[in-house]
């Protein structure tokens, strides 16, 4: 391993600009003549718009224009769309409502934009936005997914009965029923997977500029996938043709899924920029972000596990209602279906699984992928079921897991996935050692002496990352392919630029991708630059989400580098007057086999461009190669997280005292960065388990609409983490990588709740397990049971 190569904890290239305040986030970009967009948003969750009067707003100081949904429709601007088709069990396609970027006839959630003020300054825009008079006829709202389909529930979209988007299923219902009928033990749980607000620290922003001379539009936005944004905005929304739109996602301050999607505000900024012929910028304030960013999770599930007397799992059954909010966000339909039910086998050999999912509209913000996206929900179901089953059957939870672990690969689950590699017992064993499970009983007694209830909880999770291959996901309804592109440009001086379709918003691609290239080409780490996030520079790409940039994005780079080597060998052969087949490449040097002739990589690069040693007929000059890489399978990161915590008996406050994570991510390029990803994921999962929860009141007002009310982990809410790895290589990509970005968020909620329920001796607790909730659960557990 070289100092900066694969496996080295190289310090990040991108850090200098961030620690010196020189990052360039969307709101930092300033264009000459820039104006500010301020949206007029619905204060009601559900209402008819009877009229909008913008006349007073237009006369306010600094106002350039005030635009409404009627004008947007008049200009034939299309709807936002959901790009993954799901069919119901009866074969009918999902029911997608219209989603205009500015509502015209009706608003369906608080924060729905009905008009936009374009003003010289944000303050003036806000002053004017208050003067827009909207006459609403308020309608009753429904916010609870479990009530959305009820008879008499408010009808959100007139053409979509019972607010039901689809009724989907997966698996063999009859086989599962038979297994349950024969089971000697059944564990049943009612689970609410709490609704979360992603809250990347950088609020969403968009800056649109129109060049009247060329009729080109440029959009700077906070996007995890600028090419997909360009495609949707041009092809579906119809703002302008794809080749007339440039999308730049500069430094992006965290995404966690919420910046994958195409949002109304970027559409409106582009549309308005052309209308006012000046750049238009919108930056969300946090209150606006709470109302309009796509939220995550929000499942109501009944889950059952059937086991035989020896603890062998026979079948799993789940019925889930998934809340997709007021409109279907870009990939919302896939999250509670193919990203959820397909993972219900967990790490276990389960002969039959059946899952039904109803997706519903409610008068709440749209719900879409948030870190883990479907897989945390699945893991929570599976890992709660197995922990509770173990307790009910009087088995140690690790023992029940061990009895059911998949041990032979490849393994075809009953829910589509074909696991290709893993060693689940190895990661659990290592985690149990690090966590000193043997010493737990003693620690529990000590804690009890201090008035604390101590608990230990496991989560042996699996996830599917690097969603692929494109043909397979297409057959499941995806509207896009899920490959990745890479272009390798070798400069005449031998330095290299990598143009990637992946997008870094905290993951450190500028470093890890350069590590790969440096090692592969044997050139200095500092001679490699990574270019991403600009549709004018990178031809096309699918972006970063689903822990795909390593397994898919880096594999594309490997493929392009293979082509570079092949072409460079040709150049080297001409240079050294040798046969191409005799050229060998190692450690940045081309040699002729059996001779002492050699040429450095930089010399070969220069020769590729000066082209003095070969004719155009013999070889094209230049050294630049592209690859579009489509993997052959998902990857399957897996591992074991163990949470040890104390509960203050008097207050119910939970204090995590020890966290162990042992993950199998396959090949690790930069362990420092991978550990950082695990830490962050755990923090978000602990947040879900203990603190976070978006709450709407019955009228559809978001009660947790700011950092004053929506609790997220602070430094003092978390311990330092013990993080380790085991390794089985992913066979489906050339580097053997699996992906690490979501593991922590997927694994941790179940570990926390398993630890709390272990401590309190009752399964009767929901997320978030706030101090109040835990205290109440303790009171219920103490209270005499009603006869």
């Amino acid at each position: 391993m070289s100092a900066n190569g694969i496996g080295a904890p190289v310090r990040r290239k991108e850090d200098f600009r961030f620690i010196t305040g020189q990052g360039q986030y969307t709101d930092d970009v300033v264009r000459p003549g820039e104006t500010r967009a301020v949206f007029v948003r619905s204060p009601h969750a559900h209402a008819k718009i009877k009229s909008i009067d913008v006349s007073a707003a237009r006369t306010m100081p600094g106002v350039i224009d005030v635009l409404t949904g009627a004008q947007l429709a008049g200009d034939k601007i299309g709807n936002l769309i959901c790009g993954w088709m799901i069919h119901s069990k009866d074969g009918s396609p999902m029911k997608m409502s219209a989603h205009p970027a500015l509502a015209a006839g009706k608003v369906n959630c608080v924060g729905d934009a009905v008009a936009v003020v374009i003003a010289e300054s944000q303050a003036q825009g806000r002053d004017a936005a208050e003067k827009v008079k909207v006459d609403y006829e308020v309608l009753p709202a429904v916010v609870d997914p479990a009530k959305a389909q009820a008879k008499g529930a408010p009808q959100i979209h007139p053409d979509i009965p019972n607010n039901t988007i689809y009724q989907w299923h997966l698996g063999d219902q009859a086989a599962v029923k038979a297994a349950f009928d024969a089971a000697s033990h059944v564990t049943t749980l009612d689970i609410i997977n709490n609704r979360l607000v992603p809250n990347a620290m950088e609020p969403r922003a968009a800056l649109a500029e129109y060049d009247a001379g060329t009729d080109n539009l440029t959009l700077w936005n906070t996007s995890q996938n600028p090419h997909v944004a360009r495609l949707v905005i041009s092809a579906f929304v119809g703002i302008t043709p794809e080749h007339k739109l440039r999308v730049i996602a500069p430094d992006v301050g965290g995404g966690f899924g919420s910046k994958i999607f195409i949002y109304p505000e970027e559409v409106v900024c582009l549309w308005a920029a052309r209308k006012v012929k000046r750049p238009v910028k919108w930056t969300a304030d946090r209150s606006e972000a709470f109302l309009t960013d796509a939220h995550g999770r929000d499942h109501v599930t009944r889950a059952e596990l059937a086991l035989d007397a020896s603890g062998k799992i026979l079948a799993l059954r789940a019925k889930t209602i998934a809340n997709l909010g007021a409109y279907m966000s870009t990939f919302s339909s896939s999250v509670p279906t193919y990203l959820y039910a397909t993972l219900l086998s967990g790490q276990y050999a389960i002969p039959s699984i059946y899952c039904e999912v109803d997706a519903v509209y409610t008068n709440t913000a749209p719900v879409d992928a948030y870190r883990g996206a479907g897989r945390p929900e699945a893991t929570f179901v599976v890992e709660r079921l197995i922990e509770v089953a173990a307790r009910q059957m009087d088995l140690e939870p690790p023992e029940l897991r061990r009895r059911n672990f998949i041990k032979n690969f490849p393994h075809q689950t009953p829910v589509i996935m074909a696991y290709d590699a893993g060693d689940y017992n190895a990661s659990m064993k290592k985690a149990m050692e690090i966590a000193d499970v043997k010493g737990f009983a003693k620690r529990k007694r000590e804690a009890a002496r201090n008035g604390k209830l101590r608990g230990l909880g496991y989560s042996t999770y699996i996830e599917a990352c690097g969603i692929a291959p494109s043909q397979a996901v297409g057959s499941l309804g995806a509207g896009v392919g899920l490959w990745e592109s890479a272009e390798v440009r070798v400069n005449p001086t031998g330095s290299v630029e990598i143009l990637t379709g992946s997008h870094s918003h905290g993951q450190g691609h500028e470093t890890t991708f350069a590590q790969l290239v440096s090692e592969r080409l044997g050139i200095p780490f500092d001679s490699v630059s990574i270019v991403h996030g600009d549709t004018d520079k990178v031809q096309f790409g699918m972006g970063t989400y689903g822990s795909r940039s390593g397994a898919v994005g880096m594999s594309a780079i490997v493929k392009a580098l293979d082509k570079i080597e092949a072409k460079a060998k040709k150049v080297a052969a001409f240079m050294m007057e040798a046969a191409e087949g005799d050229i060998e490449f190692k450690d940045g040097k081309f040699t002729v086999a059996g001779t002492d002739k050699s040429a450095a990589f930089g010399d070969v690069a220069l020769n590729a461009y000066i082209a003095h040693k070969f004719t155009g007929a013999e070889l094209e000059p230049g050294l630049k190669e592209t690859s579009f890489y489509d993997p052959t399978n998902f990857t399957f990161p897996a591992g074991c997280h163990i949470c040890e915590l104390d509960i203050d008996i008097e207050t119910g406050k939970v204090d995590i005292v020890n966290w162990t994570a042992v993950d199998d991510f396959g090949t690790v390029i930069n362990p420092m960065i991978v550990e950082g990803q695990v830490h962050g994921g755990i923090a978000q999962g602990v947040g879900q388990a203990l603190m976070e929860g978006a709450v709407y009141d019955q009228a559809g007002q978001l009660v947790t609409g700011s950092f004053m009310d929506y609790s997220m982990p602070h430094a003092h809410d978390l311990p330092s983490f013990h993080v380790g790895t085991t390794e089985t290589k992913a066979p489906s990509n050339p580097l053997g990588m699996k992906g690490c970005g979501e593991a922590g968020a997927i694994a941790s909620p179940a570990a926390v709740i398993n630890a709390i329920t272990d401590a309190i001796g009752s399964e009767d607790i929901a997320m978030p397990a706030t101090a109040n909730a835990v205290w109440s659960a303790l009171q219920r557990a103490k209270a005499p049971k009603a006869a």
Binding site: I19, T20, G21, Q22, G23, E202, D285, A683, L718
Partner: protein, 157 residues
């Protein structure tokens, strides 16, 4: 409009602002010092932390006019003029105390205030407790805590 004058990163600056202009707006929009970020509107997240007369303050909850005559230091003013990083900046890089970088300027400015108040030998508990005014969504704080502990020690050298 009113005129406000202050010293920012050692330079005297003057600007015309509306009274409602926040310090963070003055820094970002008038002075184009965009290293100071805005992550919330309720004074919780700490992305906007700067030093006001040597003491950490949230620039989103301070009016520019309240800083008349004051001395402000932002993240851009920490490194030495020759580009040599401040030990705390160096520690954040060395210990991978940042991912997306958005909360980072506020974290570093707050870290320096922790050192000012608590000295150079900081334990984990103190650091975590004193980071109460800063939110990071990427790192889980693990490496931020390590970075601050190391940065504080390096500052004593």
């Amino acid at each position: 409009m009113a005129t406000v004058s202050m010293t920012v990163n050692g330079k005297a600056v003057t600007g015309d602002v509306e009274p409602r202009t926040l310090l963070v707006q003055f820094l970002r929009e008038n002075l184009r010092l965009t290293g100071t970020h805005v992550g919330c509107d309720t004074s919780q997240c700490g992305a906007c932390v700067i030093h006001l007369d040597g003491i950490a303050a949230k620039a989103c909850t301070t009016l520019a006019l309240q800083c008349e005559g004051a001395s402000i230091t932002t993240i851009e003013g920490l490194a030495e003029p020759d580009g040599k990083l401040h030990p705390m900046q160096e520690a954040f890089r060395e210990h991978h105390g940042l991912q997306c970088g958005y909360c980072t300027p506020g974290m570093i400015m707050s870290a320096l205030d922790i050192v000012r108040r608590n000295g150079n030998n900081l334990d984990e508990h103190t650091i975590r407790d004193q980071l109460d005014g800063n939110i990071c969504r990427c790192t889980g704080y693990h490496n931020i805590v390590k970075a601050i502990e190391a940065g504080a020690k390096a500052m004593a050298k």
